[in-house]
């Protein structure tokens, strides 16, 4: 279970998914695992959060999906980044950097 409030997670989830897929096509489960590992703070993604986000991003054209074969030898849906998705990632990252820096500054000053 997440240690952070759900809303906080939600806004950044899409950015994290985009980041995950820069390494190449992945299926849903792998994306979830990768995010859990990469954030390295016990962030655990629920199916009910991860998959709807994937579908929404697919509808918006950030992701593209195709069927492939997973490491278990099973049919699985693989997501890959589209050009639009790459642009989104770039702008999200830039915005996030600015935003978090600002928050950091504020928090440090407050202390």
């Amino acid at each position: 279970m997440s240690k952070y409030p759900a809303e906080f997670l939600h806004g950044t989830l899409e950015t994290l998914i985009l980041k995950t897929l820069t390494g190449g096509p992945m299926h849903g489960y792998a994306i979830g695992k990768w995010i859990e590992t990469a954030t390295d703070c016990g962030l655990e993604l629920e199916e009910g959060t991860l998959y709807p986000a994937l579908y929404r991003m697919e509808k918006r054209g950030w992701l593209d999906a195709e069927w492939g074969t997973s490491e278990l030898g099973r049919r699985a849906k693989f997501y890959r980044l589209t050009r639009t998705g790459r642009h989104q990632l770039a702008s999200h990252t830039a915005a996030w950097t600015t935003f978090s820096a600002a928050i950091n500054r504020a928090l440090v000053k407050a202390v």
């Binding site: 489960y29 009910g48 998959y51 579908y55 509808k59 278990l72 699985a76 849906k77």
Partner: protein
């Protein structure tokens, strides 16, 4: 990305439920595997993973999101394809400018004409009225022997005291007024109205106020309300005129209000209103009928209840005042339908005719498009071969026709924008609200609907044709083979057949209108308009209140006129032919009880010489017919027939215009004059009587408002115009002379309505005829091009030119003949709608219908023969070598 998505959607689109289920199953397995690896036993691991999944309800959520995703993709694909089709269609248009121009102009003409006519129909018939709750505003009629007419003051007042189903019951009467203020004295058209007139219509004044009940009393009625038009024209749109005093008929009147422009849409367009303020004498007058009456019905009653009450009150009136009202009844009608009733049908007929021409234009463009598709059969076959479905190809063709229709619509709007003002200028006077016709939102919406409809009409047959190709090899093989093999000529024949039918209907309508216009022109009107000039003057009551003064003034004017150079004859009439105005009286012949409502003419003795009417019997009036000599009367043939049947009317006596109930005032008939059609040739002859101006009762001077028409006959219109102005000025320089018209102008104005409709219908019919001829021509030309080789063979084998011409033209003419037969049947059904516009000709006049069909057939033969004749110029040897 787009291509990838399209491929995916084409190659493996699985139902969304299956997609979600498979994806989640995979997730479940991965999770179970992970738990097992962590040391959980397989059964527990599976249960745990499953429980977690179910708890999140993710499957339902994903199915919903997936559906949204698919719908959004489908939309995007559709728009992508539309964009491709549009680009393709536009490129097609550009590469063949001749074809595009022909199609766009043809559609533009059709859409433009229809839009212009529709905007007129909208302005006159469909647009809501300016006054409040138009469905409760009625016109009330006083009926005499079933004929609707105006009201006498006595009758109006009798009804006013008794009618309970009306919120308001008001009356007005048109009068001309002398407006003499700062500047030139001017004659204006005004109205005297009861005080509740404006309240009835519910139109508030733009400035100031409307009348009060107190102002509708004799002596307190010196107030005036100005129309927007007069206020702008004469008073420079200055609101401070309200409260000032202006002189009307030489008497000061306080301006109390200015009406907004919309008030012109009520009945006649008056320029100023004054309270009618009935005097006690007027209230006792039951036999002078000149008031128009209006009703605003109560919210809780129906129109039928109002009508019933009017009939009941009319019966009571007939009992109380039997001598004048025994045969009178009353009736009401919705005011809006009364004013536009006739125009509604006329305009809708016109609109229908225009729409038919638009259909003919669509037929031509469809024809062009079919020919174009035939040339592109190879391209379409390739499209089909690489996977374009039927729907896709239909859309491709419809997009092309849509592009053409939109370009045509743009051209059409330009044409409508340019032609609407011309149409309004050309139209006859008096079409209500015509000047308000504009290309407004409703009209634009109608034009867009026409564009879409045309696109469908134009594209439907070609689109259907385009999906009918099945054999790829045939289409990809010999280009010519493809043409004759897959494009059936019957389709184009169907088109020209339909066009022939439509043209037949429009042309038959136009022919009927032209023939009735000719009939009307040839109809004798009973007088001679040539060289006659008319003008109206009115003597104000302030100076000419006594009959002697008025009579003397008119005698002076007449004497001065008769002495003027250029004037051969001069005369006076209270209501001259084609000029309008005047009144009517009820009269009865000695020994008869029936009251005959009859138009009154108060004339000077020389009148019949001016209008060249023939005295059928008896003598004309002379200067010595005065109040001191025996009372005399001249009647027209219709009145003679009505009053006396076949008996000789000379010497018989008729009572009219004065006397009292039970005390007839006899006048002896001394002459019978031929019927004069004063309303123009189309109107029926009515009973009319003439009294010598020197003998009319004193009261008649106030009935007529001391207003008479001056008539002169001569050769030089300009000299007579000067003579009239000089003569009037020599008597009283403050008197305005107005409506100086030649009678020929008056006749033209009356015929304008008929001529306008005839002109428009003829224009439409000739446009339709030209379009249909072009259609027939192009089909035969296309057939000839198809069969060049065959014709070459035939001619090589000895066929004569005549054989070839016959063979080719019959192909085109067969459908035309069938179309003409269908059109004839359609014309018989449709021309009924013209009934009330026709004069002395039946809507099914066989001569006209057969003649029209014959003309059309001859045009079709000509249109077919030209390309067929071209076929004979084919050189057999080169045709065979091709």
């Amino acid at each position: 990305m787009t291509i990838r998505r399209r491929l995916r959607s084409l190659l493996w689109r699985v139902p969304i439920e299956q997609e979600v289920h498979e994806e989640l199953t995979h997730h479940l397995e991965m999770r179970t595997q992970e738990l097992i690896e962590r040391g959980v036993d397989p059964i527990t691991a599976r249960q745990e993973a499953q429980a977690r999944m179910e708890k999140s309800h993710v499957e339902a959520e994903l199915t919903r999101l997936g559906r949204q995703r698919n719908a959004s993709w489908a939309r995007r694909d559709w728009i992508d394809e539309l964009r491709q089709d549009l680009i393709f269609a536009l490129r097609q248009c550009r590469t063949r400018p001749g074809f595009t121009l022909a199609a766009v102009l043809t559609l533009g003409l059709g859409i433009g004409a229809t839009t212009a006519i529709f905007s007129v129909v909208h302005a006159v018939v469909l647009k809501p009225y300016a006054y409040k709750d138009p469905d409760r505003v009625l016109l009330a009629f006083s009926k005499w022997r079933g004929n609707r007419g105006s009201w006498s003051v006595g009758n109006f007042d009798y009804f006013r005291q008794r009618i309970t189903s009306a919120e308001d019951f008001a009356a007005d009467t048109g009068v001309s007024m002398n407006l003499s203020d700062n500047g030139e004295p001017e004659r204006i058209f005004g109205s005297r109205a009861t005080w509740n007139y404006f309240r009835l219509f519910g139109i508030p004044p733009a400035y100031g106020r409307t009348f009060t009940a107190e102002e509708d009393q004799p002596g307190r009625n010196k107030v005036v309300i100005l129309s927007d038009g007069l206020w702008r024209r004469r008073f420079g749109a200055d609101p401070s005129i309200v409260g000032r005093s202006i002189r009307i008929n030489q008497e000061p009147h306080d301006v109390i209000g200015i009406m907004p422009p919309e008030s012109n849409q009520i009945g006649d367009a008056a320029e100023a209103w004054v309270p009618i303020a009935f005097t006690p004498e007027q209230l006792a007058m039951y036999d002078e009928f000149y008031l128009t009456a209006y009703v605003r019905q109560r919210k809780d009653v129906t129109q039928q209840q109002v009508r019933d009450e009017f009939v009941r009150v009319a019966q009571a009136l007939a009992t109380d005042h039997p001598d004048l009202n025994r045969e009178r009844s009353a009736d009401v009608e919705l005011m809006s339908s009364f004013f536009i009733g006739d125009y509604r049908l006329r305009l809708f007929v016109l609109l229908a005719a225009v729409a038919l021409v638009l259909l003919i234009a669509c037929g031509n463009v469809a024809n062009l498009l079919l020919a174009r598709l035939a040339l592109r059969s190879r391209e379409l076959a390739i499209r089909a071969a690489i996977g374009a479905g039927r729907g896709r190809i239909v859309r491709l063709v419809l997009t092309e026709s849509l592009v053409l229709a939109f370009l045509g619509g743009a051209a059409g709007l330009a044409i409508a924008w340019w032609s609407l003002p011309a149409l309004i200028r050309l139209a006859p006077q008096g079409v209500p609200r015509l000047e308000t016709a504009t290309l407004n939102g409703t009209v634009l919406a109608a034009a867009i609907a026409m564009v879409l409809g045309s696109a469908l009409f134009v594209g439907l047959l070609p689109a259907w044709q385009a999906t009918r190709r099945t054999s790829l090899t045939e289409d990809l093989g010999d280009g010519k083979g493809a043409l004759s093999g897959s494009l059936k000529p019957w389709m184009r024949q169907l088109l020209i057949g339909a066009q022939a039918a439509l043209v037949m209907i429009v042309l038959a309508g136009a022919a009927l209108l032209v023939r009735s216009a000719i009939n009307m022109q040839q109809q004798p009107i009973g007088f001679d308009t040539k060289g006659v000039l008319t003008a109206r003057i009115a003597l104000p009551a302030a100076q000419y209140g006594s009959p002697d003064a008025a009579r003397a003034a008119y005698r002076q004017v007449l004497e001065s006129l008769q002495a003027s150079p250029g004037v051969k004859f001069a005369a006076l009439d209270s209501q001259a032919p084609l000029v309008g105005g005047g009144g009517s009286n009820g009269l009865f012949a000695e020994g008869k009880v029936d009251l005959i409502q009859s138009s009154s003419h108060f004339i000077s003795p020389g009148y019949f010489s001016v209008v060249n009417a023939r005295l059928k019997a008896g003598r004309p009036f002379v200067e010595t017919d005065t109040r001191q000599t025996p009372f005399v009367m001249i009647i027209n043939e219709t009145l003679a027939r009505t009053a006396f049947g076949d008996a000789d009317p000379i010497g018989k006596r008729i009572s009219c215009c004065e006397g009292a109930p039970g005390q007839p005032h006899w006048k002896t008939v001394i002459g019978v004059v031929n019927d004069i059609k004063s309303q123009g040739p189309a109107a029926d002859s009515r009973p009319e009587f003439y009294l010598p101006i020197n003998q009319i009762p004193d009261a008649a001077w106030s009935w007529t408002g001391r207003s008479f028409v001056l008539l002169t006959r001569g050769d030089d219109i300009a000299a007579m115009t000067t003579a009239i102005r000089t003569a009037v000025r020599s008597v009283d320089s403050t008197l305005p002379v107005y409506r100086i018209w030649t009678m020929e102008e008056g006749l033209r104005r009356i015929m304008a309505q008929a001529r306008f409709n005839t002109l428009l219908m003829s224009l439409l019919a000739s446009t339709g005829l030209i379009l249909a001829a072009l259609g027939i021509y192009s089909v035969i030309a296309w057939l000839v091009a198809q069969r060049t080789r065959e014709i070459g063979v035939r001619m090589a084998l000895g066929a004569s030119k005549r054989d070839v011409i016959r063979m080719m033209s019959v192909h085109g003419l067969k459908p035309v003949v069938i179309g003409l037969a269908a059109g004839l049947a359609g014309a018989v059904a449709a021309t009924r709608l013209l009934q009330n516009q026709l004069y002395q000709i039946e809507p099914r006049d066989p001569l006209t219908l057969i003649g029209t069909a014959l003309i059309l057939f001859i045009v079709a033969v000509a249109a077919a023969t030209v390309p067929a004749w071209r076929a004979t110029l084919i050189d057999p040897s080169s045709a065979l070598r091709e």
